[in-house]
């Protein structure tokens, strides 16, 4: 765990302690379990987003993909009697294909990722609404998938605490993603491409493939999150389901140390970022703050966090500009500036 992650953890503990002090209900098992369930679902697509942000891209269609794949999933198992294992596989495959298309448009057609995924955001939302004719998709009475429901939305008692399965899924996803990003060759390539695509290419990295893979991974994980959300909410109104989720994902990634310029960020950071966002949500509910202020509180806390981080980084540079610099070099001077801003 690096310094940034550690300070984020401290911030979460402080905010948590304050909330618990004002309203002890924060620590009730039911509340914690529900908050964790949210963390699990939001964390998975935030990690998805982080993959794309690390290569210097952006994915804005997360929320719309969750809506579209969610309604298709419910439709498949409820109305078309598709075996749920097959349906899960189909939905994940759909997510992978969406990622592949985004990645191809960005790298082969050289369209800016913001534009590609903004169009995705609009298209998938529209498709979701058209697919259900703007009606709510849900499980009718009697429709029952006990195994699937238990797997996705169930909870298991661990030492007396009802641990949501979504959070277990997050732990597995985060673990695999951590190894992939921080220990594997592919992870190195992701960071290298995000840091300096040109230098990566000159080092023999097929940067286009690496970038496409990031979008594909993002699409697959988002599809997985879409299934969890569908099973959790049990009914999806395609006009609003998952809206703004891409912003939660980006916020969590940024809180977790990802730079929108690419090449930075850690999985632990992204998970902690998700936790902080959900604690803040919870805080708004528990402290009696009007829920209309929900987003405003989140925005303010993120802004303060980023400002504080910037301030600390700058101070570190001003206090010890020559630290860790064996030789002085003309070359290093401009770099200093780049790092600060």
């Amino acid at each position: 765990m690096n310094k940034k992650d550690l300070s984020l953890l401290v911030l979460i503990l402080v905010v948590g302690a304050v909330v618990a002090f004002i309203n002890p209900r924060f620590l009730y098992v039911g509340n914690l379990s529900n908050t964790l369930n949210q963390v699990g679902m939001f964390g998975i697509f935030s990690i998805a987003e982080a993959f794309v942000i690390i290569i210097g891209g952006i994915e804005l269609s997360v929320g719309s993909v969750i809506a579209l794949l969610g309604v298709i999933f419910i439709d498949l198992i409820v109305n078309h009697d598709v075996n749920w294992v097959l349906a899960v596989a189909a939905i994940i495959a759909g997510g992978l294909v969406i990622g592949l298309v985004h990645g191809a448009l960005v790298t082969r057609m050289h369209i800016q990722p913001f534009v590609v995924t903004l169009c995705g955001l609009l298209i998938y939302r529209g498709a979701a609404r058209y697919y259900t004719e703007d009606a709510t998709a849900g499980f009718g009475f009697g429709a029952s998938f006990p195994t699937l429901e238990w797997l996705t939305a169930g909870r298991t008692n661990v030492l007396g605490f009802p641990l949501p399965h979504s959070v277990m899924a997050l732990v597995i996803v985060a673990g695999v993603a951590w190894v992939l990003l921080h220990r594997s060759v592919f992870g190195r390539y992701l960071y290298a491409v995000g840091k300096n695509e040109e230098a990566a290419r000159y080092s023999g990295i097929r940067s286009e493939r690496v970038m496409i893979s990031a979008y594909v991974i993002c699409g697959g994980l988002t599809a997985f999150a879409a299934i969890l959300f569908a099973m959790y909410t049990r009914s999806i109104s395609p006009a609003v389901h998952g809206s703004f989720y891409e912003l939660y994902a980006i916020a969590a990634a940024v809180l977790g140390g990802c730079s929108l310029r690419g090449g930075e960020g850690s999985i632990i950071g992204v998970v902690l970022g998700t936790v902080l966002l959900q604690v803040l949500q919870n805080l708004v509910n528990l402290l009696g703050i009007p829920s209309s202020l929900n987003f405003a509180v989140m925005g303010a806390v993120i802004l303060i966090g980023v400002l504080a981080d910037q301030y600390l980084v700058q101070r570190r540079h001003h206090v010890s500009p020559a630290k860790g610099r064996g030789q002085t070099s003309v070359a290093a001077a401009p770099l200093e500036r780049v790092k600060v801003d």
């Binding site: 190894v179 220990r183 594997s184 060759v185 190195r188 390539y189 960071y191 290298a192 840091k195 300096n196 040109e198 230098a199 990566a200 290419r201 000159y202 080092s203 023999g204 990295i205 097929r206 090449g263 860790g324 610099r325 064996g326 030789q327 002085t328 070099s329 003309v330 070359a331 290093a332 770099l335 790092k339």
Partner: protein, 505 residues
């Protein structure tokens, strides 16, 4: 000759470790055309930046209309009537011609609304166009203009600022012959109006054509001035060289072997009508000399698979290869140490160890994961071998000096099995000590059987390190030199496109 209005006296400029200008003096009279010549890195651009107020000299005085100053600011330089036409033009291609000429000084109307007075804008631009005999309208979008026309826009901008001195940095380097002719006429016209011109160029025939005198810089010193009567290509080349080279040369352990890399009629995007052929032999260091922009880097990029090969064949050990990407070239054992070390060679805020392992990560695998212990160990070995001065291999590359950064780039490739190594300006921004170490490493690699292509603009390096020199001029090889023919004179002759009389000493 009228009195000079601008004088530079004893101007010096030093950067840490480098003296860029060493007591240079220059006086400019109205209506004078001065050619400023010298090799790459002789200090021409620095001198002009002093004039433009961009660089503050470390010593000397600047006298403008009799007033003495130790330095100019950009605003003062503009106020003094000094205007710059940069090599890479500073124009906005989303504006029209008039908008570019009067950028920041647009005539306005409408009181506090400060709307742009288009009519006045175009009316003021037209006379400037007429003066230069330009064939485009004031409202022509800049994006539609050719490079030569854009240059005229820059000159118009200078004239609209009442410039008395226009400095042109290699104005003809990207122009066609007829465009160059027109520029020469424009220069003559400005001269007739009493505007002075300083132009930096590598093309000696242009100097012959339009300069009143030539000033020659070498290693930051002014080594000579030639009057119109004294101007001749031979005289200029003599002044540009005129120094004894320290001998750096270490002969190869064995005579060069068979050809490893054959480039047959290779065509690059930059010079579609020119083809390059050369062959690189095992164990030799082939220096590739030429002026900046002669197509050397482009050739390297094509061999390394960064840019597509537009024609011709590249053969490695006899077999034609098609390097469609750097990955393919690397898999063939062809490695490039690029010119732009920071942009293309390294990940600056990543550790030395991770930079070194990057091209060959798959050989550091243990259960699909990167074996960091092995990675660190290899980086340590390379650090010893190349004498990379850094506290630890975990140090980020960005904090190292230029020489040590270059050694890290080299270490990337030396951890693998090079057949062909292409160095593009291997010692640019590298201090003297590290330079020597890099040269020794080059020789050791060549002796170990690697074929080395060394692109260099540093004459001392080309002559001191190479076993053979190929010289490029405007996208083609203008000649090869064997060691017996090595001289700065010969390299420079070929670099400016003249033939070399093959005298064997």
């Amino acid at each position: 000759m009228p009195e000079p209005f601008l004088e530079l006296v004893d101007i010096s400029k030093s950067y840490p470790g480098v003296v860029a200008l060493d007591h240079v003096g220059l006086a400019v009279s109205p209506g004078e055309v001065i050619a400023l010549i010298g090799e790459n890195g002789a200090g021409k651009s620095t001198l002009m930046r002093v004039l433009g107020g961009v660089v503050e000299p470390s010593g000397g005085t600047i006298r403008v209309d009799g007033a003495e100053r130790s330095a100019l600011t950009v605003a003062e330089a503009i106020a003094a009537g000094i205007a710059f036409v940069h090599q890479e033009l500073n124009l906005f291609d989303n504006l029209d011609v008039a908008g570019n000429v009067f950028i920041g000084r647009e005539p306005v109307h409408g009181g506090p609304l400060r709307l742009i007075d288009r009519k006045a804008l175009y009316a003021r631009t037209q006379p400037l166009l007429d003066r230069l005999g330009a064939d485009f309208a004031p409202d022509a979008p800049l994006a539609d203009l050719s490079l030569a026309q854009r240059q005229l826009v820059e000159i118009m901008k200078a004239l609209s600022l009442e410039a008395r001195l226009v400095i042109m940095d290699e104005p003809t380097s990207s122009l066609t012959l007829s465009e160059t002719d027109r520029l020469m006429r424009v220069i003559a016209g400005l001269k007739a109006d009493g505007v002075s011109i300083i132009f930096i160029t590598h093309r000696l025939n242009e100097v012959m054509q339009c300069a009143d005198r030539a000033v020659v810089l070498r290693d930051g010193r002014m080594v000579g001035a030639l009057t119109r009567a004294e101007l001749s290509p031979a005289a200029m080349i003599r002044l540009m060289i005129g120094r004894d080279l320290k001998s750096l040369y270490v002969p190869p352990a064995a005579p060069p072997g068979e050809a490893v890399l054959d480039i047959v009629e290779a065509v690059t995007d930059t010079y579609p009508e020119r083809a390059v052929s050369l062959s690189l032999r095992r164990g030799e260091i082939l220096g590739l000399a030429g002026l900046v922009g002669s197509g050397r880097t482009e050739l390297a990029r094509v061999i390394f698979g960064v840019d597509p090969l537009r024609g011709g064949v590249i053969r490695l050990e006899g077999d034609p290869i098609r390097a469609a990407s750097p990955r393919a070239a690397i898999d063939h054992g062809i490695y490039l140490i690029p010119e732009d070390r920071k942009g293309c060679g390294l990940l600056l805020d990543v550790s030395i160890a991770e930079n070194i392992s990057l091209p060959d990560l798959s050989s550091y695998l243990r259960f699909f994961l990167v074996n960091t212990a092995q990675e660190t160990e290899n980086a340590r070995t390379q650090r010893e071998r190349l004498k990379i001065r850094a506290p630890d291999v975990g140090t980020t590359v960005g904090s190292l000096s230029g020489g040590n950064q270059q050694k890290v780039v080299l270490a990337k490739w030396l951890s693998m099995r090079p057949k062909v190594l292409i160095f593009d300006e291997p010692t640019r921004g590298v201090d003297v000590g590290a330079k020597q170490e890099i040269y020794e490493m080059l020789r050791r690699l060549a002796d170990a059987g690697v074929a080395i292509l060394m692109i260099s603009s540093d004459m001392e390096e080309v002559i001191g390190v190479s076993d053979r020199i190929a010289v490029m001029h405007e996208g083609a090889i203008s000649g090869f030199l064997d060691r017996s023919q090595f001289s700065e004179h010969n390299v420079l002759q070929l670099a400016v496109g003249h033939a070399v009389e093959m005298r064997v000493p």
